[in-house]
Each structure stands twice: as structure tokens, then as C-alpha cells.
Amino acid sequence: MELIDIIRPENQVFCKTKLMTDIPLSYCPGCGHGTAHNIVMEVIDEMGIVEDTIGVAPVGCSVLAYDFMNIDITQAAHGRAPAVATAISRIWPEKYVFTYQGDGDLAAIGTGETIHACNRGENIVIVFVNNGIYGMTGGQMAPTTLPNMPSSTSPYGRDTTTMGFPLKMTELVANLPGVYFVSRQSVHTHKHARKAKKAIEKAFENTRLKKGLSFVEIVSNCNSGWKMTPIESNIWMEENMFPYFPLGDIKVDGILK
């Protein structure tokens, strides 16, 4: 086979996600944010809804999502993305509105907005990237930091007696009647990323059917904040994060699993 045959379109097995821009990702090498961006963009592309999609970016490492996702995006104040998305989806009910938020953004400063958008059953998708730490600001403790896990504001490990327990926002919102679909996934292997993509597809499908709020958590790594190599961080995530934040669907079609 000649080179020219190999690079024929029908032989192509992988290409850059169409809805990702050409701007180099600013994420640390090994970070899960890039893959999470990719699958959200793939879903929007494959569903052919780019013209009807409005994204809401958070404050966190993914604050720059608007540089990488080639769609219309508004960037919200720290933690307020669900409120911003609420307004957009109420005024533009025919649109697909989603937020993309980290754990500090969604589960600390934005707890109020998250719970109430969920409780109102807003017809939006929330993509929640849980890496157990504040990546952007240099590795401080997040609400989802595991017990005894060190961070720059819990240098001796998270002491649950004074710092509380890791907050399982996903289980919490699953109990709200307004929430229609809740799933927890990860993107650290192809297999996991495919499953996560399925969940996100389902979430956007729910928006189309006006079913209310869909909440997809992606348990991810922050190799920089955890002070590990990317590979170490993925192993650590499997061994420590997954037992506390088990993967799988939590609520499907409005029914708790």
C-alpha cells in the first residue's frame, strides 16, 4: 500500500475532535480536563447541535475552556455557572445549555447555585470534573479532597474533625426530584472515556426531551496538584478516589439506582 492509500479518509481511525480549536491546551500534560473537553465536544458535534448549544465555563483550570471548545461560551463568576445557565436556558428554552465545572467551583463556593439549579430541575447539563483539589490556584484543599490527603491548605492531610468530610455532591443532588439523570464516570482510559461519553450523550439527549437536569461527574486527576506523575496520579485515583467516589449511574430516567 502506498502512503497515499493509507491516508485516504476511509482509512482514518482517529482525528482531532472537530469542535476543539487549534489552540494548544493549557492544561498540564496528563491532566484529565483535555479528554473531558474532547468528549463533550464530540457529543455536541455528533448530535449536530452546535448551533443550538451554549456553554458556561467556570473559574478553575477550565476557565479557559472557551479557548479550546469551538462553540459559543459565556464564562461565569466563580461558582455561579448553574445560575448563569439557568437564565440562559429559561430564556432560550430550545437551546442545549451546559456548565463545565470543577469541584471547588461546583461544590464549595457554588454549592448554593448547584443545589438550587438542581432542585428547580433546570433543563441543563452539568459536567462536574472532580479532581479532589483546587488545581488552578495551586493545590489547595477542595470539598472533595479525601480524608488524610495532603494539599497546600491541609499540609498534614485533611483532618476530618476540623475540615469535614469529602462532599459527595453527586449523591446529594441525585436525591432531588428535579434531577433526572445522574452518573459518575472517569476518562483516564479509552474504555472509561467511552462510557463517560455515553453518559454525556444521554445527558444532552435528556435536554432535547426537556427532562430536566442531567448531572455527570467525571472523577479526574490533577497530577500537578497531587504532586505526582500522570501515571502515578491515575493509579492513585483508581486506588483512592474510586472507592470513595464509585463509578456508575446513580439515577436514570428519574429513578435512583
Binding site: 493549557s26 498540564c28 488552578m136 500537578s224
Partner: protein, 188 residues
Amino acid sequence: MTEEIIIAGFGGQGVLSMGKILAYSGIMQNQEVSWMPSYGPEMRGGTANVTVILSDERISSPYLRVFDTAIILNQQSMDKFEEMVRPGGTLIYDPNGIIQHPTRTDIDIFQIAANSLSIEMGNKKIFNMIVLGAFLKIRPIVLLDNVIEGLKKSLPERYHDLIPLNKQAITKGMESVTQHIVKETTVS
């Protein structure tokens, strides 16, 4: 005496800690010191720099655009800081990774192959100490003893066994620095 220094390179090269050791050394000889780093995401794998000032008098601006000495450890920093050395000043750089070498003739320019020396010495972490040695040879503004005292202050106790190695690296830097461009004497 006042010495205004910029140290610039990649994050991870030990730029900030080298500045800190220099500042501590200044304190050891009763000088006023300031250490002003670049901070934020630009440091995430990108460039890092720090302005260090040692002076016998109260220090005014910790932030400068004109320096007595520039210590430059990557090309981006060379592009930015070569022109900021005051006429008659000093530029010290590691030629590793430098494509466009400095060309000014109104300053003294020195090379220190710290990167390859640190590899030769079997420890890349002492890279910045070799650079520091080169600087001290050219600009002996602090005594070696005070640098060692400064090191003790800035390193946590558990790393104090590394001090002899650091001292070795400083000495290596002092021995290995070479002049690249001698400033033209027309500058008085």
C-alpha cells in the same frame, strides 16, 4: 553598594530558590534585600524570573527594568532581558538551549555551562548552584561563607546534608565561568 539582579529561566530550574539563597546571603552580611518573583500560571512549565536586590541602603523599587546583572537561563529570557542590562553591566548565561547568543558590546558577557556540568556531576538539581558560583566569581558581592549560611537558612534541616554538595557546585561554577564578550572600554 547596591546590586540589582534579574535571574530568569524556566520554572523548575531553581531560579526562584537561587534568588532566595542570594537574598539570605545578603541578610547574613547585614544588607537590605528584596526578592520579587514572577508568579501565576505563566510559571506552569513556562518562564520564571526573580528580581533580587542587595543593598547597604533602604531599597526603593523592588520591581525594575534596568539591571546591574542579568543571569539568563533560556532563550525567551535572553530575548527579554539582554537589553535591560545597564550599560557597563554584566550578563551571565548558560549557552544550553540558546540559539541567539547575546551580542551587546557595552556590557561584560559570561558563559557558564551549568546544565552540562550538572549532568557531569551526576545531579541536575545543583544546576542553579553552579550558576550561582559563576555569578559570585564575577560579582563577589557576598562572601562564600555567607552564602553557605544563607543556604542553611533557606534549606529545611532535613536537607542540610546536601550542603557540601551545593558548596562543591558553587566552587565548580566559580572555576568554570568563561568570558564571552569583553565590553568595549569606550564605555567609561
